[in-house]
């Protein structure tokens, strides 16, 4: 489900700088190229994908990417081709290998820890009334009921 969400988001993301002359005639290949180029960072730009960028290098990379795909590369091969030349810097979605595992797992781990702390907080709050006297308990019950 999550994967699907991401793919859909990728496909549906907007573009800017793809020019009509660059586009492939085969709509299936073109869609693949668009999806890939939205996940690749333009190496000379500030913070844009090659799909959005106006830079000349971005345009060249878009064309290279389309050539690879037209030549029968899989998505992975086409991306690896660019990563081999420009480094993992061009990947807008960092891979989950090595130290990057921290990036991907830190938030879910923190979430579980936070849930644990939250749960124990709630439990101690709940346990607290047990220490009250019978009189206080009765009053508490009265308040709770109102």
């Amino acid at each position: 489900m999550k994967r699907l969400l991401i793919i859909v988001m990728l496909l549906a993301s907007p573009l800017w700088a793809v020019e009509p002359s660059e586009m492939l005639d085969d709509p299936v290949l073109e869609d693949r190229a668009r999806a890939l180029s939205q996940g690749l960072r333009c190496p000379v730009c500030r913070n844009e994908s090659i799909d959005e960028s106006n830079a000349i290098l971005a345009k060249e990379l878009r064309i290279v990417l389309r050539e690879r795909i037209s030549d029968g590369d899989t998505d992975r091969q086409a991306v690896d081709f660019l990563v081999a030349r420009y480094g993992e810097y061009v990947l807008l979605r960092p891979d989950a290998r090595g130290a990057n595992l921290i990036l991907w797992l830190a938030a879910p781990a923190l979430f579980l820890i936070a849930l644990g702390i939250g749960w124990s907080t709630i439990r101690t709050k709940r346990a607290a009334p047990a220490g009250l006297s019978d009189e206080e308990k009765a009053e508490l019950e009265k308040i709770l009921r109102s």
């Binding site: 489900m1 999550k2 699907l4 969400l5 991401i6 859909v8 988001m9 990728l10 549906a12 993301s13 907007p14 573009l15 800017w16 700088a17 793809v18 020019e19 009509p20 002359s21 586009m23 996940g39 960072r41 500030r46 913070n47 844009e48 994908s49 959005e52 480094g87 993992e88 810097y89 061009v90 990947l91 807008l92 979605r93 960092p94 090595g98 130290a99 990057n100 990036l103 991907w104 830190a106 938030a107 923190l110 979430f111 936070a114 849930l115 939250g118 907080t121 709630i122 439990r123 709050k125 709940r126 607290a128 009334p129 709770l144």
Partner: protein, 663 residues
Amino acid sequence: MRYCACMLIELGHFALILAFGIAIVQMIVPMVGAHRGNAAWMALAEPAATVQFLLTGFAFAVLTWAFVTSDFSLQLVYLNSHTDKPMIYKITGVWGNHEGSMLLWMLILTLFGACAAWFGDGLPTRLRARVLSVQASIAVAFFAFVLFTSNPFVRLEVPPLNGRDLNPLLQDPGLAFHPPFLYLGYVGLSMSFSFAIAALIEGRVDAAWGRWVRPWTLAAWMFLTIGIALGSWWAYYELGWGGFWFWDPVENASFMPWLIAAALLHSAIVVEKREALKSWTILLAILAFGFSLLGAFIVRSGVLTSVHAFANDPARGMLILIILAVFLGGALTLFAFRAGKLEAKGVFSTVSRESGLILNNILLSVSCFVVFIGTIWPLVAEMLFDRTLSVGPPFFDAAFTPFMVAIAIALPFGSMLAWKRGTFERATKALAGWFVLAIACAALAYAIQSGNSALGPIGVALGVWVVGGALADLWIRSGRDTVVERLRRIARLPRADWGKATAHIGMGVTIFGIAAMTAWQQEDIRVADVGERWSVGQFEFQLDGVNQLQGPNYLTTMADISVWRGDRQVGDLHPEKRFYPVANMPTTEAAIINGVLRDIYVVVGDPQENGGWAVRIYLKPFANWIWGGAMLMALGGCFSLSDRRLRVGASSAKRSAKAVPAE
């Protein structure tokens, strides 16, 4: 005349220095007075805060005057203005640069301090003195930063004949509103911070403290909401491809304090109503302002490459980092020593509003952490692991979205549970109908849409669920009676309840808008000849002509495209490609027909070799719901703020009202 203007600039500069001096006094004297119980020393804080604000206001007015009159003897005006620039951009150009925007930051910071002095009558004298003193210490740090590293009043020995003009991307009405609102939000959180520090120094946090800190947080959060929404909308129409959020470091910098402030708003309610979660609320107040400072650091230092990089400088970044370290480090140290003293009182069962709000806080804080780690990871990876990498939108979409989905699912339940001890049955009963409706709407959306996108239907379901939950919450509050009587009761509910419902509805609307626009937008890129007609979706477009025109400080290529639906003309669009000769920079001006159900978004590109023009057309369904929802959230904050319980000084008003019948 010229002589007078010269003097004026210097007076503005002196006013700023004087304000710095007063801030130092205000930082020290009331704090010492509060420790010794010296009323006169504590009372000094109020006039000091007022004068500080007036002096900063004067300095700001002088700088604005210099921009308006194009006084190029000021370096800042020379670098960022031009005589041909339209008047509105001469004025907004004051904060379209680093030095001027820092002065705006100071103006707002001192304004908040002054407001605390003006409207803080209900506060205990000691707490107010401490709050104002902490607020002044923040001002001292930033006055020093402005005066020593970013002085807007630096002169040029030989004034040039004309200026270098403002970055054309910033020559937009968006600049008039986006930064001031953002700063009102960022800086507003300094008040929550000051209240937290003052409470830690006093060693006391009670329900009253929760009630005092909430309006400030609410106001800051509201401004931040508006500022972020305006920025998103600005990017949408200005940058030329209709994206509304790019997970850019600078955007993230504003989003992190927003998320924490939202968490703080909710946890402060628990402090106010139930005197629980005290130390956690204090920590959130510290972190919220910490993230504001981190945002300032990210924007000003340029350590993270961003499309917003228009005013950065590593040396200045270093200074902000020091300010950040001192305030955050100091605050957290104080917190470590004093948090144990804050005794929690309220008890509650597992199923209760308190638990719901704890879940809200967990989800908001963790989602803030996702944004945080994604934003700084390129730095960490480079420093520690020697890997140069990027973290872009695909990461954030994947890592952030699940937490937002979880919040949307849990929100209607949590907001309906009773304080202290709630039951799921009550909420389930009230929500069952909305749940069915949400699923039905999702199914309908799935059936209508072309393609198999799951995003659209999920967005529809979550939107209906959250909006329905807010309505059901209002409905259930009206008790048992006839429909008319219940509606009458709903109308009479406290404004805070209306605020809650409105803000939550806004959240649902925004979720729906984001999902719908992302999932269902259509695009068309083509080369069009003049006179050519083509269709996109249910609309037809015709390129009627392309003209070269001259603007006040730019040249433009303006296309004339008519939009048709069947035989009826829907509109006439004029997308432009502009060129600003002074800045030597091209910009794209999209033309948009705004609609409730969809936006029609047209961009004209370059002329092609074989004749014709590149034209891009997007149909963006429900785009305006994204910002509409954000405005509803801010409106909800407004309602809540106007609730008499929160109105500053309400307690004293109540007291005098009670006093009348007693006489």
